[in-house]
Chain length 112, copies 2
DNA sequence: TTCTAATATTAGAAAACTCTAATAGAACGA
DNA sequence: TCGTTCTATTAGAGTTTTCTAATATTAGAA
């Protein structure tokens, strides 16, 4: 056992810190979805409000197909949602928790 | 252009929100390093202070090799550090920003 | 309907990730 | 030294991710 601090409690006690095992899986999924430069940029853009795919695409600058695929990843993991308006698709962050997490990521990596 | 809000500024302006492109890469790397159930658990454990590999291993419960490899990923990305004490290796989170990010992740995924 | 603009989907190759199993290395005690 | 404990590394297979290129779909305009 480690002598540098009190011995660890059992796994349940410890992971109660973050929640059930299910929460951990969920957190891992969400972080995984965030963990790509393009997707972080998208989340940043959408932090200010909804945007059409075309505008996201212009702001970030890659293939339309590529953006579309990244948007799908974000939506599949529940980080963003979308609605249709005519021929355009508008994406947005609906969950305040996600907005918080994005803001926090910004804090952490810009406030060295 | 989107008509639902004012047109997007250029990419530089927008990404000033999160920082330079380099920061985005850095953030993506860190999130990627966090984005695994085992590694989230490790970060949770280490949030309370340093721990030896063996103790981490017992708390999480997988192969010693597997834990070691995950620890390496976390260390390679700068999320944790380690020191030696005799035959044991003690791992810890040295950066307060990371502690904040882990705490935040906990907040977000446990406070539905 | 036909054309066009906006978005989504598919396919496939290359790269990265993650596990298991085996082995290596380092520090300590007998 | 020899054996043991703790940790790290390597190798390899299986899976997942990510890109490009091509194609499909959808809605509106002409």
């Amino acid at each position: 056992m480690s002598q540098t601090r009190k011995p660890p409690a059992n796994a349940e006690d410890i992971f109660a810190l973050i929640g059930k095992s299910q929460n951990i899986e969920e957190a891992a999924s969400a972080l995984q979805a965030m963990a790509h430069p393009i997707r972080i940029k998208v989340l940043c853009l959408l932090s200010s409000g909804e945007m059409a795919v075309q505008d996201i695409n212009e702001a970030i600058g890659t293939t339309q197909s590529n953006i579309s695929q990244h948007l799908r990843v974000l939506r599949a993991s529940g980080l963003i949602e979308s609605r249709k308006e005519g021929t355009r698709a508008l994406y947005f962050v609906s969950d305040a928790r996600i907005l918080k997490l994005v803001a926090m990521t910004r804090d952490v990596f810009c406030t060295l």
